[in-house]
């Protein structure tokens, strides 16, 4: 009990300890704010990637695609863990909108909007037909025309709040799409005559996935049209990928593993078929593996930032060390008295380490509370800075970022607080050992008093 009492007493009586408290609180505040913003950005980015991809992807990077996908879709549909499967055509095309002088190279994704909305979050990205994805490819101005959904960044600009300038309905626009049709062997189809396929589509909706690279380079086309344009139709019909969504409760890795097993079995069974060679390059990936090229970069930045904070946080350990060194130097009489009434070395050490824990806990609480207040107001502070001084943390006309993430993750705060307490204990360790080693006979001799 006396250990707690002494720790509390030192904490309130020794004003120098407020400095250590300030250093800990400052560090915790900065780390909590930066980590919340970064974790929020990374989490949001992952969520959008998950929504864009679905849970699992069976596919190939080759633009030739793979065959016999319909049989595998049936196999997946018969299982109890798959909720939806969406076959997808993925290729490149040249797009030219009516009246424009040049053409734009972009990525085309051929989908069945209903199936794709079941397997991924496609419907939620649509601006005009979000509540009924079935009519995503039906232009409002003429439902008989072949429609296309365009990545919003290809067509519209953002304002300073990051919002797009949408019209009340999609503008009437014809876009001619030109593709390379490839044979099942990967050669150019129609070689020697005309190696490209062209078809005109009409703008029916915009897709706003929140992923800058997707929204600025992707155009969605009806599945059958895309299949013909890319030369994937005919007797050996091909697709680029199958996007799969698992039933609720199915763990990601467990589901992916089951799909891998099913795919291995399916490839074995079809190994003697004419186009079985195309199945060799097909892989089964979870959404995280499929989008790792993009996600990993952000995660690495977060890790690097954490490492840099760890480095700077060392200074706080130094501050705690110096403060405890001073306190121990000033409290030789107390230490001597404690030892003379029977306190062991460990007890004395316990007093100072307890004090360090208290300091770390209170410093973390103060820092986290200040961080919470700051984060709650971070967007209004940024809004005020923008109104008054034209300053934005991120220019929303350039970056696809909405509001600054401000939701504190309790687990993250606990980890940061834990690290802060450990840093205080580390800083106080040497002075505590010095206190524990003090001999009462030396501390209490008249010359010392």
């Amino acid at each position: 009990m006396y250990k707690i009492k002494l720790a509390i007493r030192y904490f309130f009586r020794r004003r120098i300890s407020y400095l250590a408290l300030g250093a800990v609180a400052l560090c915790v505040f900065i780390v909590v704010v930066v980590m919340t913003v970064m974790t929020g950005l990374v989490g949001d980015f992952k969520k959008k990637n998950h929504s864009f991809t679905g849970d699992c992807v069976v596919g190939t990077e080759s633009l030739v695609g793979f065959v016999y996908y319909e049989d595998f879709v049936k196999i997946l549909g018969a299982t109890d863990f798959v909720e939806a499967v969406s076959p997808v055509i993925n290729s490149f095309a040249l797009a030219n909108s009516e009246g424009a002088e040049g053409s734009v190279g972009l990525e085309i994704i051929g989908i069945d909007p209903v199936l794709h909305s079941r397997a991924t979050g496609f419907a939620e990205t649509l601006h005009y037909h979000g509540d009924d994805a079935a009519i995503a490819f039906q232009p409002d101005y003429d439902s008989n025309l072949a429609g296309c959904v365009v990545g919003v960044e290809l067509w519209l600009n953002r304002n300073s709040k990051g919002e797009y300038f949408y019209d009340s309905s999609p503008v009437e626009a014809a876009i001619s799409v030109t593709c390379f049709p490839l044979t099942a062997k990967g050669a150019l189809a129609k070689a020697g005559t005309d190696v490209v396929n062209t078809k005109t589509f009409y703008l029916s909706d915009f897709s706003e996935s929140g992923l800058a690279r997707v929204d600025s380079s992707v155009m969605y086309l009806p599945f059958e049209d895309a299949q013909v344009l890319c030369g994937m139709g005919g007797p050996a019909r091909r697709v680029s990928r199958l996007h799969i969504k698992f039933r609720p409760g199915v763990a990601l890795e467990e589901g992916c593993q089951k799909v891998r097993e099913l795919w291995a079995e399916f490839s074995d069974k079809t190994s003697s078929e004419q186009y079985a060679g195309l199945l060799a390059g097909v892989s089964v990936q979870s959404w995280k593996e499929h989008r790792r090229e993009f996600i990993a970069a952000m995660e690495k930045e977060q890790t690097m930032m954490t490492a840099m904070f760890g480095l700077v946080g060392l200074t706080t350990v130094f501050v705690v060390f110096v403060v405890f060194y001073m306190i121990v130097s000033h409290k030789t009489k107390d230490i001597g008295t404690l030892k003379s009434v029977g306190a062991s070395n460990c007890d004395v050490m316990g007093v100072f380490l307890g004090f360090a824990v208290l300091l770390g806990a209170v410093g973390s609480a103060v820092g986290a509370a200040a961080g919470l207040v700051f984060l709650r107001n971070i967007n209004s502070i940024e809004g005020w800075l923008f109104e008054r001084f034209g300053f934005q943390l991120w220019d929303r006309t350039i970056y696809a970022i909405g509001e600054i993430p401000h939701r504190m993750e309790p687990a993250m705060v606990l980890v940061v607080a834990g690290c802060a307490i450990l840093s205080c204990v580390a800083g106080a360790a040497l002075p505590s050992i010095r206190a524990a080693k003090a001999r009462c006979v030396e501390s209490l001799q008249v010359s010392q008093i």
Partner: protein, 447 residues
């Protein structure tokens, strides 16, 4: 002399002071590395634009004819060293079975481009002006190394030997252009009915291009401007979409831009017969002006990061305060003796303030050294971390360049060093005042 003696004595005897030196050094090193990396990145960003498109770009927003005459007139200006025309289009490149890439096609004047940009230096095989090859197989082309090969997943490096094997191979490029449905000139005008006409070009790879800039290496295919024009605008005479200009060394950018605008105005009006609004809508900007919007954002991010680390570095000031307070507390007898020998309060305060500054200077020197070593070896550090953890931290696909900028920004480091010394002295201020207020009579009396 007394002050110097005391500083050295405290530095040698009070080893705890070394902690504050270490803290100042650590913070200083971190800030110098951050400022060097960001400014290096900005420098590389701006230089990449100059290397790719020259010092100034004249972009009228529509294709125009008689560009050779405009170039001649520009080169007669004292401020212009050379100018070259380009014509761009988008296309799909069929490299091999199942391997199709979306690319940007730049029609260039092959012989002249090296005088305006760093085109020659970026050629993989020929580091000199390429001699125009006339191949029956197809049109000579220079293709970005990233279009021909993918970098290694772990090292992010290209297999240049494999890329060299691609040289001489034939590839097929599909592109197109809009043409007027009925009559009119290619330059066109508002309200004219246009339609898209696709074209297929058979190319032979003359060389590969490696600039170290991700976008250029992964997206661009260079072909002779005339061959591109013949393919996509067969009915038109020589046309260009852009003029890229290299300025003479040491000339003033604003003067040069004004002179170029003048030449363009006269040319567009007299030779092309354009209306004043069409002439004025032409964009004539320096390469750095073209990048300025993004540079501002990068600078802003650097400012925010420096602010965050600067605030965290305030802990070092607290540390110095604690240490100096401890020294003053334990050295009251010394202070009293010095004062009793006639030293004024100001002199005593100066001892501690000066000592604070010495700590700042020592910390800043160590920090600058550490910052220099880390920045200069940042690629090796990144490589070692990558080897250790099995991951690549710096990827050209994410950060635009294949190498991390490793030049120390001394101009950016100077304010950091000064701030470190001032902060260290500020940390020592209150203990110095306490020391100055010490009354010898209170401390030295014997009771």
């Amino acid at each position: 002399m007394l002050k110097l003696f005391l500083w050295l004595r405290y530095l040698g005897k009070r080893r705890v002071v070394l902690l504050s030196v270490a803290a100042v050094g650590l913070s200083c090193a971190l800030l110098i590395v951050v400022v060097s990396l960001f400014n290096g990145f900005i420098g590389a960003f701006e230089q990449s634009a100059v290397d790719a498109i020259g010092d100034v770009v004249l972009s009228p927003g529509r294709k125009f004819e008689h560009y050779d005459e405009l170039i001649e007139q520009l080169e007669e200006l004292g401020v212009v060293e050379a100018a070259t025309a380009t014509l761009s289009a988008q296309g799909l490149l069929h490299l091999d079975k199942g391997d199709v890439r979306a690319v940007e096609i730049w029609g260039i004047e092959v012989q002249k481009r090296g005088k305006v940009t760093a085109f020659e230096q970026s050629l993989l095989n020929e580091k000199k002006t390429p001699t125009s090859i006339s191949s029956e197989k197809g049109i000579e082309s220079y293709i970005g190394v990233g279009v021909l090969a993918r970098p290694d997943e772990k090292t992010d490096e290209y297999d240049f030997n494999a890329v060299r094997e691609e040289i001489g191979q034939e590839v097929v490029l599909t592109t197109g252009s809009t043409t007027l449905a009925t009559g009119g000139s290619v330059a066109g005008g508002q309200g004219e009915k246009r339609e898209f006409r696709r074209t297929t070009m058979r190319l032979v790879i003359a060389d590969a291009i490696f600039t170290g800039v991700y976008y250029l290496d992964n997206r661009v295919v260079y072909v002779p401007i005339e061959r591109l024009r013949e393919s996509i605008y067969p009915k038109s005479g020589p046309i260009a979409g852009q003029i890229q200009i290299k300025l003479r060394k040491g000339c003033d950018m604003e003067v040069a831009l004004a002179a170029i605008r003048g030449v363009w105005g006269v040319f567009a009006s007299e030779r092309l017969g354009w209306e004043p609004y069409q002439i004025q809508s032409a964009m004539i900007e320096s390469a750095s002006q073209l990048q300025s919007r993004y540079v501002v954002e990068i600078r802003k991010q650097m400012g925010v990061l420096l602010l965050i680390f600067g605030v965290v570095s305030m802990s070092a000031v607290l540390l110095i305060f604690c240490i100096f307070y401890m020294i003053v507390e334990t050295r009251r007898k010394d202070i009293s003796i010095v004062k009793s020998c006639g030293a004024s309060s100001v002199s005593v305060a100066a001892v501690f303030l000066g000592f604070g500054a010495v700590v700042g200077v020592a910390g800043a020197a160590i920090g600058t050294g550490l910052g220099y070593i880390v920045t200069r070896n940042i690629n090796a550090v990144e490589h070692s971390i990558g080897k250790l953890l099995g991951l690549k931290l710096w990827k050209a696909s994410v950060y635009m360049f294949s190498r991390i900028p490793d030049t120390v920004d001394w101009a950016g480091a100077v304010p950091i060093v000064i701030a470190a010394i001032v902060a260290a002295a500020a940390g020592a201020l209150i203990p110095a005042i306490i020391a100055a207020r010490t009354r010898p009579v209170d401390i030295l009396r014997y009771e």
